[in-house]
Amino acid sequence: MKQRIVAASVLLVLAMLVVVWQVNRLPRPVVITPTLTGQEEYCLSCHADLPEISASHPIESFGCVLCHGGERLALEADLAHSTMRGGRNPSDLAVAELSCGGSECHTGSPELHRDHVARVQTSLQATYAGAITSIRYTYGAQADLTAQKAISAVQALHPPEGASDSRPRALDAFNPAKETHPFVQAFGENCLTCHLQAEPLPGAAYNRLTGCAACHTPSTGRDPEQPLHQLTTVIPYTQCNACHNRGNYDLRQMNFVPRSDSSSDRMHDYYQPIAQFTRCEFELDCVDCHTRQEAMGNGYLYNNQAEQQYVQCKTCHGTLDAAPLTRTIQDETDIALRLAYLNPDIPLQVGDTIVVTEQDEPLWNLRQLPDGSFEMITKVTQVRYPVPLVMGSGCTQNPEQQESNYCHACHAVQR
């Protein structure tokens, strides 16, 4: 009996040592206490090798849980990730309001330009209303080109102004199963891979996330299995080309035909072979001219892309009769300064004069120099371009004809 007791005591001590060894194998807790929440988080115990997502979202202020959700105290993966919003992507539109929202963040007041999440949900990139409307109209499912359906049901933030305003007040959800025309149903099955709520087609060329990250996390060209922890406003054209310039839809087969050319340089990579474009349209990135309201919406619902997109050559270059519209920055709270601060190499100060669009959006990377001329500093490539004006030049344009195809007649480059 005594031998048994001694043996059992030995086993007990051994078991205790095994327990100590097992306890030490657990991940060592690493804690941060972000200033915006004041609560300890232990995500870095396993994820310390992730890069800072952006200079505007420092981890000392935000931490991880504020955007991603999750269980901040858990060191076991399944439990820690169980309450995360949107899986790997908290900016998916289904959860963007919870993740990116907040009155000081991206669901704040429109006057302070803080209503990004609400506006994006009305933009064409989210609603896809133009494509849906034109297909339904073409195949008789609706009587005119006024948008009725969107990817998800949505209400306009701003109702249409008056009887002559054709912008919709609200859109219903497009349900291919309830459509009667087989082509419209086929459209719903094959052609809805390019809007902010859709998963992209397979392949590195199409690789992007959904929601806000579709544009702001430039992951095109990467292996889809390699997540990119980055948010930026410096969006290169390659990210826009995850959806744009990828090919064409065949309306008879109702499927997508990818572009077949291979690109050797930026000029050939940028647009599909059928496009006509000038030098600035491929040397600049899309974000150098296309504004925030054009891409992310302005709270109105639009029937198609032509209505929402309004920037033209004359926005930067003016017309024969008029120089581009400008504004002088009066105080430090000007939205133009807040935007320039995100791209620190664009030196903008109070007192500078910048070009503004016809809808009073600042083109804050296009400044008027002291001598009166204009200079653009490109956001992605950081190149300074002098901006020639139409006024006082030898341009023979008809001032009534400001669409790009008129400018292309002389200025298009040979592809």
Binding site: K2, V6, S9, L12, V13, V20, E40
Partner: protein, 148 residues
């Protein structure tokens, strides 16, 4: 085996006593390990320690003659005969927060009195107000550290 004078001084120990020694010492080891584990168990502190570093803004706003109470740090900044100093307003007697009086500070709990530069004037406290660390950081701001 019987203990005879010849083997009483030998180094062998009866088996039953060895076994008893064995299990008792093993249990002692287990108990010691358990006790150590228990101490570690109780050592965890769920709530983060309070902030001890305070950024007081540009250092040049504290000119000679300054007498500024920093309430959230329970401290006072004094620019007096000894230059720019910081003193804790926690009474060295039993920890109440001393209040400003005409000629310095007075503790409302037991009546200890200190002068404007923290020296002990009178009262059950046996020492003056504790001086705290002040530093100027790279940005020119004054940093108060109540833990040093």
């Amino acid at each position: 085996m019987p203990v005879t004078p010849s083997n009483a001084k030998s180094t062998t120990i009866p088996r039953r006593d060895f076994l008893t020694l064995a299990w008792k010492s093993l249990l002692a080891v287990s108990s010691a390990l358990s006790f150590a584990g228990l101490l570690r168990f109780f050592s965890h502190e769920p709530y983060p320690a309070p902030v001890t570093k305070f950024d007081l803004g540009p250092a040049d706003q504290f000119s000679p003659g300054t007498h500024a109470v920093i309430a959230e740090a329970r401290s006072v900044i004094v620019y007096g005969s000894q230059g720019l100093m910081a003193y804790s307003l926690i009474c060295p007697h039993l920890g109440c927060t001393v209040e400003s009086a005409e000629e310095g500070f007075e503790c409302p709990c037991h009546g200890s009195r200190f002068d404007a530069e923290g020296n002990l004037v009178q009262g059950p406290a046996s020492q003056g107000l504790k001086p705290l660390s002040l530093e100027v950081n790279d940005g020119g701001n004054l940093i108060l550290d109540t833990a040093a």
